[in-house]
Symmetry: C2
Subunit: 290 residues, 2 copies
């Protein structure tokens, strides 16, 4: 491919019309030749059409992707891997295949293995998930201002990366090109670890205090915020955890060490060191979210 | 005291004009005879007067409390214990002394030990803290709809409890009478544990990913919410942790066990059990925050 494909000329197929897929379709409509939505359930396709998240819709995966210039797989991580195998023989030469999965190493390996040479692969992970899911909560502004990670493969051409950048920007997001393994390492700590901490917090309250009706009355903002992501879609999170085990477990081990360090300072009544540690942490968080 | 003191006839002294104290003063103004604000710094007293959080103000602790019918100590936990000793000889007979500290066992013990028999003690802990602090963020609506825990002592009369209930309701809060040790156990899990988890999460990111500038771009909503309370005031949290060590450490141990259970399931690739555990947790959280 020596020519530069322009997003405005592309027919984009979005496979999976949940929060991320439907929102992306809606954000891209009018900025590309057409948006075709693919979902398993006819009701979801109808909702996507009625709410103008897509120009056209179908429940037939192959029919939906076979004429597309860009295919965006927006399903749980391991469904993406299955769908890559299913669509591979049916794609146009020159077609760009992207995905929106939260973990990238297994997906880009599957892309490399399953997609024919005539097809261009590009991993992607927009940082705009919510703990709610489904087309009911989709919104065109979802990607606005969010970081949109792109993880090219060795075989991904600069033109394909440029198209991915254009697609992310068309949705209002900020593209960020990263190596797949590096992205998995980083999101293991900044995204998957918070999920497991939130889950452990809810499980702790469930195991100890939740028998006391008073506990439910005194649960305040701190618990609500710290536990929020424990409400995330279980299938989505299972796929994420299972395809990023090494980095997730390393992040958990490091966090256990940090928690043990803080609780040791509490246990020993070592106030000066505890004050220093908590002050450093507070300042770090302020830097993260000024 | 056989007579029932009415809040509307009471002069209320609020000691400490931070987020909680100034907000309470503002919420009670007009619902009691007068609100006297006490703060160490003259600027804070001036701000409290200018913003009508109090009717009168002083930087003199003893002058502020000596004519009060109700004294509400709204300072960090261990400052409360010091102030109880300072004000004890100067209080009116029949005076009710309350506090707003997050841990209650040490405070009610100090109240019992330090306050003369002629003075009525009543511990309190309104569940409306924020990670921000200071009079700058005070607001009259802070207590609206929030649970306002009251922890009476053996010597606290039913009339004093009734006055505490009236004060909480006047501020728009929902009073909840609890044993001091039970409240410390419950908040150890639902409030102090989330703080330490949030701190451990920030420390983990700081120790591992924060050297990579990409990490700062991909920090998304999940990390922000899970880490929010790590921005809490350090002195306030130090006092809380140091006066609730036993319950806080028990909560941390239980949470470590829960986290280890989840991460073992990830490590072993035990998907069926992991799915069950995450589904139960998700449903529990939905029950907590419908």
């Amino acid at each position: 491919m020596k020519w530069m494909k322009s997003l405005s000329d592309c027919s984009v197929a979005v496979v999976g019309l949940g929060l991320m897929g439907a929102s992306l379709g809606g954000a891209l409509r009018g900025k590309c030749a057409r948006v075709v939505g693919v979902a398993r359930r006819a009701e979801v396709v109808e909702t996507a059409l009625a709410q103008r998240f897509v120009d056209e819709g179908t429940t037939d995966l192959i029919a939906g992707v076979c004429d597309a210039d860009v295919v965006v797989l927006s399903t749980p991580v391991r469904v993406i891997v299955q769908q890559l195998a299913e669509i591979a023989p049916h794609l146009r030469p020159g077609c760009v295949v992207m995905d929106l999965g939260s973990t990238k190493k297994e997906i880009v390996a599957a892309m490399d293995h399953l997609l024919p040479e005539s097809v261009q692969p590009l991993g992607a992970h927009p940082m705009c998930g919510k703990e709610t899911s489904g087309i009911e909560v989709a919104e065109v502004a979802l990607y606005q201002g969010r970081t949109f990670i792109l993880t090219p493969l060795a075989r991904t051409s600069p033109e394909t990366v440029a198209l991915g950048v254009a697609l992310a920007e068309a949705a209002g997001a900020k593209p960020l090109v990263l190596d797949a393994d590096r992205q998995d390492y980083l999101v293991g700590t900044v995204s998957h670890l918070p999920y497991l901490l939130a889950c452990a917090l809810v499980a702790t309250a469930d195991a100890t205090t939740s028998k006391d009706p008073a506990a439910w009355k005194i649960i305040a903002g701190g618990f609500r915020d710290t536990s929020r992501v424990a409400g995330s879609d279980v299938q989505m999170m299972l796929d994420i955890l299972m395809t990023n085990r090494e980095h997730v477990l390393a992040a958990v081990r490091e966090c256990e060490t940090q928690l043990r360090h803080l609780s040791d300072l509490v246990a020993n009544g070592d106030e000066a060191m505890l004050r220093d540690a908590l002050t450093t942490i507070r300042n770090t968080r302020k830097e993260m979210f000024p």
